[in-house]
Symmetry: C2
Subunit: 138 residues, 2 copies
DNA sequence: TGAAGCAATTAGACAGAGTCCAATTCCCAT
DNA sequence: ATGGGAATTGGACTCTGTCTAATTGCTTCA
């Protein structure tokens, strides 16, 4: 019942439930991210969005991605020193990063267990834990 | 016996054993990183190096940090989307990153155990695993 | 219909990290 | 001293991302 294809209408609803006013451009950007289920850079998002439709400006792409981020619609993945990737998958999971190709793959968190981490210092709370496995073709 | 203070002489040796011709500038940069045992950005390294001594150019700082990296003298830590940190500690360990202050702290790897990771796809080898715990003041 | 008001979008200037290149300097062996 | 290869340098350049002031567009209310 919940599994819906990412039509423009469904995406508009998704935005609304996250407290985001759906607009033309925002829906296109959401569509770029959610329809292909990949990790995209801001630049890639802009290319995809402007491929077939009228223009969306760089400023809007960045504004929108940061808005989505704030509202918890997407996540940020920091693995490449030169650019941020945006991840439409907000379920807890980790990443494998191919240093050669720059390709980023999900690792399901379900079975992963991390033990032996030290106590956090007092006065701080965990915001999240990233695990990144860097790989290279043999 | 092996624990030596980071004098210029010791650092020159350290560079040589890693196949790096020690020069004036390289030694100063190594000194900046190893004497204080912190995570520094390229910019911070340049500031420190130029504080007391004659000029070292931006190009040299970047050249040298990348050279050290290549030769396994230091590690790269990618947690901040806007800049890379360089870590003089090459022992296996993980990191805690304070999103508020930008401070980066080591977590000893000794006791940390990660289980349940899936098999790597064939044809790739692990280059390393990073664990980053993002924290925020409560 | 239309005017007001607010939110979203935009172009383009800007900022900062990092790279590149051609010219110079340094160091060392002869 | 001198020649040669490596290291360094300034400065221009690229790229990602931000900022700002102006414009557009949407909604509401008359």
């Amino acid at each position: 019942m919940e599994s819906s294809p990412y039509t423009r209408n469904n995406l508009a609803d998704k935005l609304r439930t996250h407290g985001i006013t759906p607009t033309h451009q925002r829906i296109e950007i959401a569509h770029a991210l959610f329809s292909r289920c990949e990790h995209l850079s801001a630049d890639q998002v802009m290319t995809i969005v402007n491929e077939r439709h009228s223009e969306t400006s760089k400023a809007t792409v960045y504004n929108t991605l940061n808005l989505f981020l704030e509202k918890g619609l997407i996540r940020e993945v920091i693995v490449d020193p030169s650019k941020v990737f945006y991840d439409p998958n907000t379920e807890p999971h980790y990443h494998m990063y191919d240093l050669e190709s720059g390709r980023l793959t999900d690792i399901a968190a379900a079975d992963v267990r991390v033990t032996g981490l030290p106590q956090l210092p007092p006065g701080v709370v965990t915001e999240g834990m990233d695990i990144i496995i860097r790989v290279r073709p043999a």
